[in-house]
């Protein structure tokens, strides 16, 4: 897969990739052009990440440049409804389907609900609606985040989900991204904007999956805007093939009394870097950051979270659990900022890790920067193996070793799964956990 590079040794691989991402003029509405230009400049200033940068110490992304990166186009198999069915949360629910980054109306289902707008971003961008101008690329900072900048500079499509004042949307809205291209290095810069107006309530679920064994690249950015009193449960299930590269930036902007629940569930990709961030910018806002990562083989799964307490009387609760097998590696870095005005902040962070082999590695680091004096902040990280005594207890009752092991792994994950209120997602996850650990060797 490095043929393209070795045959053109004189070219800088990154520059080559950026050339290959060049946009069609229609993807560049004038109001967006200045944002894209700023992002391109920022990429130059930030530079491609290397392990000398503090934020990338444990995550080497250099192998990404060994792929012949190019904008994904549908060039492989024809994707049908039957192909995507296993990834669908519900047969008849709201689901926007993107294949190799392009919105597929024929595969999507949009039954519609009063006060809900869910559509392809590309179609709306040309017009540039009010909310789009106001919010798109206004929340996810490109400074210091190379991949967010890369996305802003080159994204073509994605989802726009909007819920009007006071409206509660009962059915979850799913955004399903499927990679199907059989060409190595096919890259999708997925871009999502989710806006919940005052007092609105929404559940939205992003799913990333592969229908191809080729090493593809996803670079996704999701911005969420929660107006006063809005409640959003936002899940991400990334289950791409284990040769893929996945970069994700999720940025929430929370106003007064808003409530955001984030689930980041990562089981896929050879290298997955997830930047999950919220800004608590109104009194009484609350954020719950829930995470589960399952590594095996040579996978590297990295979460960097940022909870930024800007205003007083806000709460954040963060629970990240990792289960790492074989030679897989996990990285968890949890930043909590408490700004000088953010008195009476209550921030809590835990990261628990289960290592199933001697060669699995986790690098975990809490990072609290507190500039207010009347706050409650706690953090804790644990790393352990399966509890031998519990294993023996289960086996001494007649439960076989493999089954007992599965029960305990399930139990470890159940804390995180239990916080998900989308039943279909919980079921998907239970199945995934069972499949993943069904054949695990003792």
């Amino acid at each position: 897969m490095t043929d393209t590079l070795t045959s053109t040794p004189a070219r800088d691989p990154l520059a080559a990739a950026l050339g290959a991402f060049a946009l069609h003029p229609a993807d560049n509405p004038p109001w967006l052009e200045s944002l894209r230009e700023a992002a391109r400049q920022q990429m130059g200033e930030t530079g491609f990440p290397d392990t000398h940068q503090e934020d990338w110490r444990f995550t080497n992304v250099a192998p990404l440049l060994e792929l012949p990166l190019h904008s994904a186009k549908q060039n492989g198999r024809l994707v049908t409804l039957r192909d995507i069915e296993p990834f669908r949360l519900a047969k008849d629910g709201h689901c926007l389907v993107f294949v190799d980054g392009a919105f597929r109306h024929d595969l999507s289902s949009l039954p519609g609900a009063p006060g809900l707008e869910a559509a392809s971003l590309r179609a709306l961008m040309a017009g540039g609606g009010r909310e789009l101008d106001k919010h798109l690329a206004r929340h996810a900072a490109v400074a210091g985040n190379f991949f967010a900048a890369l996305n802003t500079a080159f994204f073509v499509d994605g989802a726009f989900v909007f819920v009007a004042d006071g409206v509660t949307v009962e059915q979850p809205v799913q955004l399903l991204y499927v990679a199907a291209s059989d060409r190595p290095g096919a890259t999708v810069h997925a871009r999502n904007l989710i806006v919940a107006q005052k007092g609105a309530a929404l559940k939205v679920m992003e799913t990333y999956a592969s229908l191809t064994p080729a090493p593809h690249v996803t670079n996704a950015v999701t911005e969420l805007v929660l107006a006063a009193g809005a409640r959003v449960e936002h899940g991400r299930l990334q289950n791409e093939n284990e040769r893929a590269f996945h970069f994700a930036t999720v940025q929430a902007a929370q106003e007064r009394d808003s409530h955001w629940v984030s689930h980041s569930i990562v089981t896929g990709a050879r290298l997955a870097r997830n930047q999950i961030q919220t800004r608590l910018d109104g009194e009484g806002a609350e954020a719950i950051l829930n995470g589960l990562y399952l590594g095996r083989g040579e996978q590297l799964i990295d979460h960097h979270t940022v909870v930024d307490h800007v205003q007083p009387h806000c709460e954040s609760h963060e629970f990240y659990h990792g289960i790492l097998a074989n030679r897989s590696r996990g990285v968890f870095n949890g930043k909590i900022f408490v700004r000088p005005d953010a008195q009476k902040t209550n921030a809590k962070q835990t990261n628990r890790n289960l290592l199933l082999s001697d060669e699995a590695v986790i690098d975990t680091k809490p990072q609290l920067e507190i500039f207010a004096d009347d706050v409650k902040c706690t953090h804790g990280a644990t790393i352990g193996q399966l509890n031998e005594e519990a294993m023996f207890y289960l086996r001494s009752r007649g439960i076989g070793a493999a089954h007992a092991r599965r029960m305990l792994i399930h139990a470890f994950a159940s804390d995180v799964v239990g916080r998900i209120t989308i039943p279909a997602l919980r079921e998907q996850l239970d199945r995934l956990l069972t499949e993943r650990f069904e054949c695990a060797a003792m």
Binding site: A390, Y393, L394, R397, G398, L408, A411, D415
Partner: protein
Amino acid sequence: MLEIHNLSAGVDGKEILKGLTLSVKAGEVHAIMGPNGSGKSTLAGVLAGRADYEITGGTVTYNGADLLPMKPEDRARAGVFLAFQYPVEIPGVNSTVFLKAAFNECRKARGLPELDGFDFLALVKKKTKLLELDPALLNRPVNEGFSGGEKKRNEIFQMAVLEPKLAILDETDSGLDIDALKVVAAGVNKLRRPDNATLVITHYQRLLNYIVPDFVHVLVKGQIVKSGGKELALELESRGYEWLLESDPGNGKP
């Protein structure tokens, strides 16, 4: 049913059991008594298949089969049950789900059909009454947040559900008040049948007022130094263990 012959076992190179011999027949209740550190819990652990122990000599035959190479789950399926001295809390594993899985594994091993959820719950309800166990506890994770007494009662409740052939009660009386002790003992007595046997391991005679043993063995420094009838327990209660500490080991036969 159980023939232990000249069994030696230890942990980290330190020998704890030093040539223990014991014979248990179906329908019998044997009490193993002894001071702290005599090897009582080691014996229980070795019989249940705890991996911490190294077997350095001797044999254990259970219903004609060599017990020692068997995995813990295979022993359980063959009818060996250990009531733990310190039942472990297992967060995230639901008590009922756990017990149903265990129950059906044991049924399968005995060639019996698995019970479905409805029939299993009916059985569970009956057995909770026997142990006066609050059924609500079974909605919780295994042993999590149970009081000391509830944990011990839960052990005997599991025994009532799984109906073992050989039950080993490891210090089941420790941490129980007298009322709980009576309930647990009554439960054990109701489970006694001509085709099963019970090994009661205890430091104190108290439990043996309620679970009356056929034989009492005194374990000292890894060997059985004296065996007798139930009156031996009373003698130990009044005289303590001191008088036996220097005596020669017996042969484990009453």
